[in-house]
Each structure stands twice: as C-alpha cells, then as structure tokens.
C-alpha cells in the first residue's frame, strides 16, 4: 500500500508536552512514510490531538524533535503552511459567510489549490455552496472543514477526527476522498477513535494511551499480534484426525468445546480448514469466523474500551 518505499515524510522523536501538571504527551516517537495513511487511535485525553497540534506547529513541544518534510514545525512555519493541510477538531467559521465564499477564500491562500466545486462535490456539499455556514448541520460543518484541509493540495494532511458526527454514507464518501487523496501522493495523519475507520484506511496504526504509544503496526498485524489471531469455530460432520489441521501453516491451536472445534490461526484460515477437511471427506458445519479487531487489541493493551459509551458505528 505504501507507495514510495521508505521516503520518510514525518519524523516525531521523543515528543513531550505538559499542560501544568498534566502530562499530555509523555514520550511519543514514530515515523510516517511518504504517501502513507498513518492512524492515531486512542481514547479521549490520550494525547493524540496534542501530538498532531505539535506536528502542525500549533503547539510548542516541551521536549523532543519533529520534522515534517524536512522542516521544523515551529521555526519553519512559513515553509510548512503552504504544503500542510489541517483539519482541527474545533474549528468554526463566521455564521454569515456562505460555504462557497469560505471555500473560495481558502483556495486563494494556496499557490496551487484544488477546485472548490469538485471538492464540495466529493464531500456532498455541492447543494450547500450558497448556504450560510450557520445553516449547516454538524456533519456538513465537519465535511467543510475536511474540504478546507485538502483545498491547498497539501503534501501532508493532518485530520483530527474527520468523520466524528457524520452519518454512515457521508463517512463512506469521506473515506473514499481520503483514499483518492492518498492516491495523489498525499501523506495523511488520521486521528480517530473509530476502529472501522482505522481498519479501512490506515496502513499503520499507533495505539496511544496516557501519552505513550502502546503499540504500532498494521491494523491486521496489531489485532493478530495481540489476540493471537483469528478464531474459527465449527461442528465437524464426522470425527477427524486433528493432525490434518495442525499440519497447516495457518493453524496455531485446536481446542474441543463440546461438539464444536475451535481453531486459532492466521491468514486464510477458513479456506484452509474447509479445503483440508473436504479433501478428507469431512464437512465443517455451522462455521463461525471471528477476526480479531483493533478494538480487541486496544482492550487487551490498555485494559479499557476506547468508547465508554458504545456509539452506533454501522457503515
């Protein structure tokens, strides 16, 4: 997925940031490759927003170094602002400006901007171009703020909870836009607490808790590493020699639970089991496959859920 092998776009090294007595970021280090979608996942107050605010130059780190496309976000703001697009969690615009007017103003800030109409179209805002900001729904305001982050055709886009408050369809549209944007070579840092979003979009995900990265891997890698892999449960149509399955490279362990067989493994586990059993005249009935999710990984690593309240996340 990562386009350019190992051209580093962003380096964060031993970042620290304290507000008063509160250590928002304890010690965070990571690198983001050019063209990568890098996710930062964690509960509220974990230090995700502070980290990206340091990356965009909005906050001055107490310790550590940051390099974005070779620039220091603090001392080299002028060089970075034209090539870094930012979506902040809490940005608003004047109530009495129209969507089209805000987009038109922001495109004028950049040397080689995207077409505001096309961007509005991609985010489902075309019909709102003539509407006052005040009249937009929360989701529409959110989409406008994503549009403004991308309007300068940035080399790096930093998106802080870009789909919070969006309905499922709008979320899908936004995901598609982000994938297309990355396809054009933009490096993207995505702060989120939607597991599904991280799994769908991110090449790699950093799990952040209490100001530290507790794990960093691909979404699949994280999930499998933490939970031991995928689980498949089935009822065999007749008894079989479990050595058949144990010999498969995908299989790690086999366990009998009454009439059920529970297999833990990785890769194309379900296919491997069905095929091997079929070759030996055994059918696997009532097959249930459970992929380990990022949510499982998060709970295992931090001992708590990302959402205290369960939000509807169907998409």
């Amino acid at each position: 997925m990562i386009k350019n092998t190992n051209t580093i776009a962003i380096t964060v090294s031993h970042l620290k940031k304290t507000y008063g007595n509160v250590k928002a970021v304890e010690d965070v280090s990571f690198e983001v490759s050019e063209g990568e979608i890098f996710g930062m996942l964690g509960p509220n107050g974990a230090g995700k927003t502070t980290t990206v605010e340091c990356i965009t130059g909005l906050r001055h780190p107490d310790g550590g170094t940051i390099s974005v496309l070779g620039h220091d976000p603090q001392s080299d703001r002028d060089a970075l602002h034209p090539i870094v697009g930012v979506q902040l969690q809490s940005s608003t615009f004047p109530d009495k400006l129209k969507v089209g007017e805000i987009l038109d103003m922001y495109q004028s800030f950049y040397p080689n901007p995207a077409n505001p109409e096309e961007l509005a179209q991609a985010l489902g805002l075309s019909e709102k171009l003539g509407s006052y900001y005040k009249t937009l729904s929360g989701g529409q305001k959110q989409r406008l703020s994503v549009a403004l982050a991308l309007i300068g055709r940035p080399k790096v886009a930093v998106l802080d909870e870009m789909t919070t408050g969006l309905d499922p369809q709008a979320r899908l549209d936004t995901w598609e836009l982000i994938e297309r944007t990355r396809g054009q070579g933009t490096t993207i840092i995505l702060v989120t607490h939607y597991m599904e979003e991280a799994e769908r979009l991110c090449d790699r995900v950093a799990l952040i808790d209490y100001g530290r990265i507790v794990a960093l891997d691909t979404p699949d890698g994280l999930a499998e590493k933490v939970t031991g892999g995928k689980q498949v449960r089935f009822v065999p149509s007749q008894p079989f020699d479990d050595q058949l399955l144990k010999a498969l490279p995908e299989v790690k362990t086999i366990e009998y639970q009454g009439k059920h067989v529970k297999v833990v493994g990785s890769g194309q586990l379900v296919n491997a089991i069905i095929q091997t059993l079929a070759q030996n005249g055994v059918e696997a009935l009532d097959i249930q496959s459970e992929g380990a999710t990022l949510e499982d990984a998060f709970v295992k690593l931090t001992g708590r859920h990302i959402h205290e309240d369960k939000e509807a996340e169907s998409a």
Binding site: G57, I83, S91, T92, P94, M105, F109, Y110, P111
Partner: protein, 255 residues
C-alpha cells in the same frame, strides 16, 4: 519538499477583505449604528427649534454646529469600540484565528482587513454626515480643512487603538460587550452629547479634556470655526494612539 518557500498570493488579502465586507454588510450593526444613528440624530438636532441659532453661551456657535463633531465621533466610536473588538474576540473565541494560523496567510491579515473595513465605514460616515449637514441642514463646512482632517485622523487612530487594546486584553465576547457599552456611553458623555462642553462645570471639562472624545470634539470644533486645533487636544489623541496602540500590538494573542 525542498526549501522553496511559496509566497502567499496577493489575491488572498483581497478575498479576506471581500468576506469581511460581506460580513459587515450582513451583520449591519456597524452600518446601522455607525451610520444610521448619527444620521438620525443629525436630522433631529437640525429640526428642533432654535438649535441652528448661534448662542453666546456656546461661544457664538449653534447647538447644531456644536454637536456635529460628536456625531462624527459617534461613527468612529461605534466601529472602533463596539464592532471591531467584538469581531476579533469572537474570531479568537471560536478558533477562526487559530484555523487561519495554520494556513499560509498570517492571521494579522484578518486584523488588517478588519481595520480597513471599519476605517472605510468611518470615512463613509465623515463624508455622508458632512455632506448631509452642509447641503440639507445649513451646516457651515469646516473652515480649517487641514486642521479638521488632522483632528479626524487622530480621533480615528486613538479610538481604533483603544478598540484594539480591548481586543487584546478581553477574552470573551460577553465581557467585551459590557466594556464596550460602558466605554461607549462614558466617552460620549465626556464628549458632550448630553452636556455640551461649553456648559460643563470645571471638574467635568478637565476630565473631558483628557478623554479621547473630549479632545476630539475640542479639536474638530476649533477646526470647524477656522482655528487650528489646540495642541493639548492633538497631544492627548496622539498619546492615546501610541499607548493603546503599543499595548494592543504587544499583548494581542491569536488564541
């Protein structure tokens, strides 16, 4: 990617200014209160019986001529103390300045655009009120034009500096609203809207001389009668400009 710094297109400031103008037009407090109210007062003062006759207690000028400089100052006061600081504080409160600070455009440009728009309204007020006064209500045009323009300019700079200082120190729009209202009426009082300066008792006139509106009305009044504004009044306006301007620049925060 490499170190090429990309210059912000100059068109960007034009777009900022355009949107700020749209806002001024769509939220018509500056135009309604800054232009409409003094124009209304101008009409009322001119048609009340006797206001256009020269009075010896006013030093030989009419009540109408005496209050005209206050009406001019009313426009400046509205945009500088009421409108501009509240816009800027709201922009800071709601994160508009913060959002702007991560674009290639310096947030100072928004401040500059605000100053330009409100300056335009002040100048429009000067032109409309003077033209209306002279053509329709028999006001004598300022006899010392240079002194008049200088006094007007310093009124603008001093009150804008005070307004920007409010924007620098006050965090919330609600507080700015309160401070603005108190200042608004206090300054108008010492400018002589309710008790004309020639009728003020010595204590009041002494305080009035040290307020921006008192100094402004004095300077404008003299220029209208053909004298050059008195140096103390011009100095008071200059001191307000420099001191409050310095504090505003020094302590203004974007977030």
């Amino acid at each position: 990617m490499n170190n090429t710094r990309i210059k912000t297109p100059r068109a960007a400031f034009g777009k900022l200014l355009l949107n700020e103008s749209r806002l001024a037009w769509r939220i018509p407090i500056s135009i309604g209160m800054g232009l409409g109210l003094p124009l209304l007062l101008l009409v009322i003062f001119s048609i009340l019986p006797g206001t256009r006759q020269a009075q010896s207690i006013f030093g030989g000028v009419s009540y109408f001529a005496l209050t005209f400089p206050i009406l001019l100052a009313l426009t400046i006061l509205t945009v500088s103390i009421e409108v501009m600081p509240r816009s800027l504080i709201k922009y800071r409160e709601t994160g508009i300045l913060r959002r702007l600070s991560v674009t290639p455009v310096p947030p100072g440009w928004l401040l500059a655009a605000q100053i330009v728009i409100n300056l335009e309204i002040a100048v429009a007020g000067l032109i409309i009120l003077t033209a209306a006064g002279v053509t329709a209500f028999g006001l004598e045009p300022p006899k010392n034009l240079l002194g008049f323009l200088l006094a007007y300019l310093l009124t603008v700079t001093s009150l804008f500096a005070v307004g920007l200082c409010i924007a620098a120190f006050v965090r919330s729009d609600a507080v700015a609203n309160g401070i603005g209202a108190i200042l608004f009426f206090a300054l108008l009082f010492f400018g002589g809207l309710w008790i004309p300066r020639p009728l003020m008792p010595p204590v009041l006139i002494n305080i009035s001389n040290w307020t921006p509106l008192g100094a402004s009305v004095d300077a404008l009044q003299r220029a209208m009668q053909g004298l050059f504004p008195s140096l103390p009044s011009l100095l008071v306006l200059m001191v307000y400009t420099v001191v409050f301007g310095y504090l505003a620049v020094r302590y203004f925060k974007w977030e």
